[in-house]
Amino acid sequence: MEDWITIWEARSIFIDGFATTLGIFLYSSFIAFFIGLLLLYFLENSNKNWQYLIMLFVNGMRTIPFLVFAYLLYYGLPELGIRLDGYTAGLVGLALYHGAYFCEILLSRRRVMPNGLIEAALAHGFKKKTLFVRMILPNTVMNSLPLIGNQLINCLKDSAFLSILTVEEITFAANNIQSVHYIPIKAFACAIVLYWAITLAIEFVMNKLIKIGNQKGFNHA
């Protein structure tokens, strides 16, 4: 019981950590999703060289562990004269890393999208940008919602690595409390509950979107 009182007394550390995690997750996943869309657009509408470069980036990101990429940004970039604080490095890292994954997810839906749908738009005078925004975008995004939700959860969990870059998020808070008060199980249990809460919120939102999608006649993966 005493341990829980200790944790309760240190609650402000957890609250700050929770806010930091939530903030970095929302920012980075929003930017990451946007990066994914942008990459998909350029894969669709640029020449072979650009397409090759984009796929190189996407596949490159998929081959390295996130922590190594975060280290590269935080410890590696200063060697080139670019110094990022832990928060910025973490944000940039998560956005680029998961942006590549979002691109891959959307691309996998794009590949199986019926070509007739595109042809019908072309045959009625759609320009490239309109075709992307009105046809490709809604059909790839709405059909990959379960995968997008999964990737968001991965993004949230990867944010725990940022504690190593001195970002004071949930894991950092838990680690801090357990090392000061020697109560690792309870401290990390709190961290788990907080991550779980955010995950539930993500699932709630995604399920709502999936429901809307179903009503609108989208088929799901």
Binding site: G116, A123, H124, G125, K216, G217, F218
Partner: protein, 254 residues
């Protein structure tokens, strides 16, 4: 006499991986004409149709739509940009064998979509036009439904309304009834007959002989990528010149 040619095809040839699928095709289609394109599978008739709106790009030959060269800038002799091509395609809309309705839009939205985002029409006007065209094809009771809830014949009628709404100069039909069961075929053909009576210029790739005979002004026959017969329906179906067409129609006793 004024030139009323809407589509002019000159010496058109097209290859797929070195196989010639269209060879030196010449065809003029006048305003208000209904032209049926017949031929066995693989004869190149769909490809010919798809060259007309440049969904397929021919290697040789020229296509003119309203006296404008399709796909190539006449002055510079360079390929058109995507946007220029899009502008030309507004005038020749296509109805597909597999309907290709946009699954994420309702029936009404499907018909409004190109009006709003290609023609940049105000929403109110687009809605009026869409409702009017859907009524013409008898789909006015399905406005808020999604394509997935419709039968094949209904989908195809919506697809026709979608093309009509653009008020194109030519309507292209790529085997519009081939994916339908016999009962649904009739409802789509009825709509197409009505359109022909209203003076729409139509190019129809089809296997419906009876329809071609009743509705067409010209019937053309493709065989291995060559246009081997082009005549009025009475002549085409009773006394065509090409032996292959006589075989196809089983006119001569075996």
């Amino acid at each position: 006499m004024p030139d009323t040619t809407v589509i002019r095809i000159k010496n058109l040839s097209k290859q797929f991986n070195g196989v010639e699928v269209l060879r030196d095709i010449n065809l003029d289609i006048k305003k208000g004409e209904v032209v049926s394109i017949l031929g066995s599978s693989g004869s190149g008739k769909s490809t010919l149709l798809r060259c007309m709106n440049y969904l397929e790009q021919p290697e040789r030959g020229k296509i003119f739509v309203d006296n404008m060269r399709m796909g190539v800038n006449e002055s510079t002799n360079k390929p058109m940009t995507h946007n220029q091509l899009a502008k030309m395609r507004e005038k020749i809309c296509m109805v597909f064998q597999n309907f290709n309705l946009w699954p994420h839009l309702t029936v009404l939205q499907n018909v409004m979509e190109a009006l709003l985002h290609v023609k940049k029409m105000p929403k109110k006007q687009a809605k009026e036009i869409a409702a009017e065209q859907l009524e013409k094809v008898g789909m006015e009771d399905f406005l808020e439904q999604y394509p997935i809830t419709l039968s094949g014949g209904q989908k195809q009628r919506v697809a026709i309304a979608r093309s009509l709404a653009m008020s194109p100069d030519v309507l292209l039909f790529d085997e519009p009834t081939s994916a339908l069961d016999p009962e649904r075929v009739e409802e789509v053909l009825m709509v197409m007959k009505k359109l022909s009576q209203e003076g729409y210029t139509m190019v129809v790739v089809t296997h419906e002989m009876e329809f071609a005979r009743m509705v067409s002004d010209q019937v053309v026959f493709l065989e291995k990528g060559k246009l081997i017969e082009k005549s009025a329906p009475e002549k085409f179906f009773t006394n065509p010149d090409a032996i292959r067409v006589r075989q196809f129609l089983k006119l001569d006793p075996q």
